[in-house]
Every structure is written in structure tokens, then in C-alpha cells.
Amino acid sequence: MNDQGDHMTDQKPFVDIQHAQKSYGALEVLKDINLQVQKGQIVAIIGPSGSGKSTLLRAINDLDPLTGGEIWLEDKQINKNLPHRQYEKHINLVRQEIGMVFQHFNLFPHLTVRGNVTLAPKMLKGLSDADANKLAEEQLDKVGMLERIDYYPSQLSGGQKQRVAIARALAMNPKVMLFDEATSALDPELVEEVNLVMKKLAEEHMTMIIVTHEMSFAESVCDRVLFMDQGVVVEEGPPEVMFRNPKNDRTKEFLRKHLAGQHR
């Protein structure tokens, strides 16, 4: 599995997951996962439901802590062993550097779009109202949601909500963005507007790890694709190989079934 191109070997990985292991009781959900992502790289994770994709993604910012292995961001270990209090402090700082976008948006319904985007910058970075507003306007402009800045989430479509959720994450100026099936809950006609925003981020060389079922989207924006099944990375490689010419039988099977079942 070191066929990811010699041009990167001299670089130290930006996100480094080593021997990640996760169990819920007797159920082993992640089995010795290794993943290195370089700065500016975009990695797609595909695989059948229940294969552990979300668990892996959520382990990166410690929403679901690993039961074994290490996760590093640049030169910092994310899941390090610290006394509870210190760990809380540490993880809150780490999380500020990792943006996450959920399948179901998880916008704060009691806050306007503006309130959603400014909450964390104001609370955690001590931005003044004026600075936070400016920041929110910038980020919302980027995702094309500036005109809706004073709307409540309940007044937005799914695609609009997801774009706001992306702006909310971007407002913390993260080093990495994690997307967990960001378009799966959307009506088909709303998927494209969110994909466009993600493409824009790709052009800006944002480091991203994207769990997705949108194979054509993955093929068009990602540098690398991982296929996961039953808690292991079965195969990985550049998109043109993974989608056109996979070597592993399970990958072939998954893609065949997936494409057959998905005629959008």
C-alpha cells in the first residue's frame, strides 16, 4: 500500500493515523487502520454502511475516542493520555483546528445564520462583535449564503443549511475539514450546490477527508480514495484506479452494487 506516489515521500504527513483500533464491547469497529494525509490533500473514504467510516472520522476529533492507536495532526498527538481536566483543554484546542460537517447539518436552531457562524469565534477566539460579523460575512459569501445571514436555520433548505454549516466550520480557520456524508440527507437537486462549495475548497488546497457515496464527485475532486469494509481499509489508491480498475474483489463488488443501485 505504498503506491501513493513517490513525489510525497519526503513530506511528513499532515494528518497521521497509526494503528487505529476501536471496539464497542466485543464489537471491533476499526481494526488497525493506518492513514496518512498530506497537507492540501483530499482523501475520500467509501464503503458499505456500517464499515466504520463515521467512526474513523469522528475519532479524528475525538467525538468517538479510539480504544487503540494514535492520531496526529502536524506535530501534535490528538488522542494523547492526559488527566481529564488537561485533556479537555487540549482537545478543545485541537477541535478548533479541525472543521467537521455532519450529514444532518446540526445547525443551532435557536441562532440565526450569523449567530451560528459567530458563536465559536466569539467565545473561543475572543473576537469582537464587529470582527466576528466581518468574518461571518466573508465565510457566508464564500458559500453563497450572505443574503440569508439573518435567517434562522428553519427558514433554509437542506442545501442552504449545509452550506451554512460549512461556513460555520470555516470560520474557525481549520487546518483540516472532515465531511461525513455531507450530501446524503439532501434532496438530489440540492446536492450540487454543496458539492460546488466543496470543490471550491479543493481549489484552495484545503486538506479534506470526505466520507461520501457520491462516486463521481469523489472521482472529480479527490487525490486518493480509500475503500473500507468491516473496519479495515481493503484497498486504496488514486481515483482513476479505484473507480476504473480496482484490484480487490470486495471493492469491485461494492462498486458494482453501488452503481447498480444508484441511478440519480
Binding site: 455532519f102 443551532f108 434562522y152
Partner: protein, 218 residues
Amino acid sequence: MGLDFTVIPQYLDIILWGALWTILITLGAAAVSFIGGMILAVIALYAPKLVRLPFRAFAFLFMGTPLLLQLFLIYFGLVQVGIDVPAVMAGIIGLGLHFAVYNSELFQTGILAVDKGQIEAARTLGLGRMQALRKVVVPQAIRDVIPPVGNNMIALLKDSALVSVIGVSELTLSAQRAIGSTYRPFEFYVLVAVIYYIINLFMEAAQRRVERRVQASR
């Protein structure tokens, strides 16, 4: 002895002062019940077992016994342990604690009903546990329990009449004073009932207004 409402104007200022006190006591006790209810709810949900238990016992006792009995306990109990608070304070504390227990039940339900994804989203941004609770969970819980908490506050207004029994000079006790010198209970109690009814209408209107205003944020 028939009815004679002409005695009222002479005592109207006393009665209206009483009404003002009733409003102040209601507001004060409402504030206590709101803040106290939220604290009790957070303790009930998040505190370690050793802290939770005595509070559970307290809530159990306060839900199972009459408010009037609790007012006697607080008024005379405070005196007993050497704390000499004015009756008004005892009344506000007693009413406030009583309704804090009821509000706490509502807040707990409200907090638990907030989607888990909300906490995750807040934590993902880097907010700490308490920050997420304060800025994301509690505001939504409050918003969702406005109707039943509003009903509690309206009940509180009517129950504030009970503090007259421990000697708080609010609306009911003012009427009793006027009756003491006029011997006209029917007239004054009806007057007082009308005043309570009017305050009650205002509170109901306020409740509807608040409910309408939070509609957009769900």
C-alpha cells in the same frame, strides 16, 4: 347584611399597593423558580450521585407536599435556625423554591430532548462541555419548555395569595386589612379576585406573545 360596594374607593390605594406587591413577589419568585429550576435540572442530570441524592430527596418532598405547608416550614424554620428574614423574603424564597422543583422537571425533559448532534456540533467547534451546555443546549431547552413553564408562572401568581398566611402584605392581606375595619369580606374579596384575574389575563397574553416570537427559532 347586604352588599355595599361604595366602601371600596376609600381603600383602593391600600388594595392597589397590595396588587403591586403581588406583582413584585410573583416576579421575584418567578426569577428564583427559573434560575433555581435550571440549577436543579443541571444538578439532577450532570452532578455526581452523592450530590444528586439530597437534591432528589428535596424535590421529592417538595412535589409531594402542599405549598402552604412548605411556606410554614421556610418561614418558621428560618427563624428557628436564627435567620430572621422579612416575611416577604420568606414568601419569595418559599414560592420560588416550590416552583423551581416543578420547573426543574420541565427543564430536565427539555435538556434531554435536545438532539445529541447539537452537542457534537458545538464540541466539534471547540466549545467545552459547560460552554456547549450554556450556549447551545440550555437555550434550546428553555425555548422548548416555554409553554409549560409559562403555565407554572401563571399558577405561581395565583399561589402567591398563600404568602398572606405568613404575613406578607400583598393583595390578599391588604384585602384582609380593609375587611378588618369595614367588615365587608364579600366586596373586597371579589374585588381582589377581579384584580388577580386581570393580572392573570396579562400573563396569558405575555405568554402567547413569547411563544409566537420563538416560533422562528425552532
